[in-house]
Amino acid sequence: MTATDTARQVPRVLFVVGKGGVGRSTVATALALDFAARGERVLLVEWTVTEVISPWFGKPAVAPGFTPVPLAPRLFVMNYELRAVLKSYFVEHLGLDVFYRRVIEGAAVQRLIEAAPGLAELLFIGQLWWLTTLAENEAGLRFDRIVVDAPATGHAVSLLDLPAAMETFGASGLLALEVGRIGQMMKDPKWTGAVVVSLPEALVAEETGELVPRVAKDLGRPPLAVFVNRSARGLVRPDADTAWLAALSPPPRPGTRDSLELLQRELSARVAHEAALRTAMAGQTRDGVVSLPEQLALIGARPPLEVVQALAPAVRAWLSGAEAP
């Protein structure tokens, strides 16, 4: 089916889930780049007001719509937008172009559609399915892999929970067919999977502890892995004390001394939070917890793409089933 020689089975559509600020786009891009490097045609999907990944590649942000834009060899990006997808869904997929022009395009229906709960999410998932199946024949678009930079926590879970949520509407007709089809795909581990991105910080780790079981419940199986971004494992000994600060010569100014102590405590705390997260996550994911090491030298001046590229060894190790480097 794909050119990938990964030892781990990774589904065709991979949702990268996590709260804002954890580095979800960074991890999604690192995964997408690795798939592309293996020879796959990869689509990176964002769903946002301002698309962020293209500028890392020196390209303008992709406007919301339904056009895959090339970013790098075999790597494309798309920024989901409800109206563009709605049109493609009715016109290209259902063949209801007259209906679309007469009814759906009307201002009143457009507003109702924006307000209709779950519809944007349903069409989002439906579109992902279309992209991996019929799009090759219908629109000449072929992708081996789709990586979804899933919108912030609450939203992402409602995406994965969609078939169940839609059933409460008691829909019949075409919508019900679509819900049923999408439900089947979400249940298929070859088709859909999720990874959760976290940080070694108290609050984020706590939310991850709640998010992982919710994703497991919504999908009916555990997420593939938890990625701990900005991991400080191996950087500092968590039990190291701060006595060395008093022994420095020349003695640093008080502000500097306090700042050094804070930074040391922060790195140690990251190690401790990650250890706690690993304990809490034991048995809750398919492949366990993957550390993405902090690149201290990259904090600051470098463009974000370098940070993405620095994650490549850890991402590759996970995909090939090896132990972390």
């Binding site: 009307g106 409460t168 007709g173 060395w244 020349p250 405590r265 470098r302 974000p304």
Partner: protein, 348 residues
Amino acid sequence: MTVRLHVMLGAGGVGKTTLSAGYALALAREGRSVGLLGIDPARRLQGALGLTLPDLEVPVPGVPNLSAALLRAEDCLRRWAAEACPDAETRERLLANSFFRALADRFAGATDFLAAVRVAEWIERHPGLTDLVVDTAPGFNAIEFLRRPEHVSAFLEGSLVTWLRWMTKEGGALGGLVRAGARRVLGALSRIGGTRLLMDMAEFVTLVEGVFTRMAARLAAAQTLMRGPGTSLHVVTAVRHDAAQSVAQLVDALATLKLAPSSVIINRAVAPTLGADVAQLDVGAVPPEVRAVITYAQAFGELQAQLVRAASAPGRTVLVVPAALGLDESARLDALEALGRHLLPLRR
């Protein structure tokens, strides 16, 4: 008197919630009558304030003049539904409607709308309030309600909704007496979604009208307030590699709405002397198990200096809030207030 609104914007994880609480506390201790609207369900804020925060504001014990509330989507919608429904039976029907339930779920992610409506509700309820500090959802979501003001109210306009309302009021099912235009549209929609979906939708439209009308009025009031002279927008950031980019994006997004932040707050900063002092250190004297701290300090100091330069602009205050030893472990009222005092130069 006009309420001064202090809106904290910023990416996730930069400390908006803690800063908002500290700022509200510091303002209240100065004698102002202050409200704090939190949106982050983080237990830490509640622990620091020493109470469990309900959706409807309560006084914070030990701090005269300070009330606080935590935005809870479901509680808000229930309260507003109760306000707008004429009787208990209508309310129960609304709360049981599948569209309303789905909408309540959906609204959990639309905290910007709810927060805006809550702000207006708060001011209605407390005429003596002088300052309201509002924590917001991370990133651009926080200002989405300004970008698409039609989102809530537009729902009730247009002929489709009129037809749906007529359908339930006349008690008619699909077909039969439906006017020609309505029949075509409703028939097509039922082909897609089924008649039960349509009936549920129609009932929902009828029931929810009052709730939405009230919400839309409050939303409009909040929008006027947001653009008024009493409102200050503060963009909060931490010293992170993506900070300059996310501040710039947020400022740009505000600019498209013809708004500008009055300040950029750089939170959890290190001492400005750090970079220069660390450059003088004899790294050989640093134990190997903590040598990464020195590398980290150099990179952090450099990043912070870059961020201050990037955030500076005419007419804007760049405020550097130093990280405090001990705040994270024991986020008690006094520590919170000490943090919040750093923000007092921003008050008007």
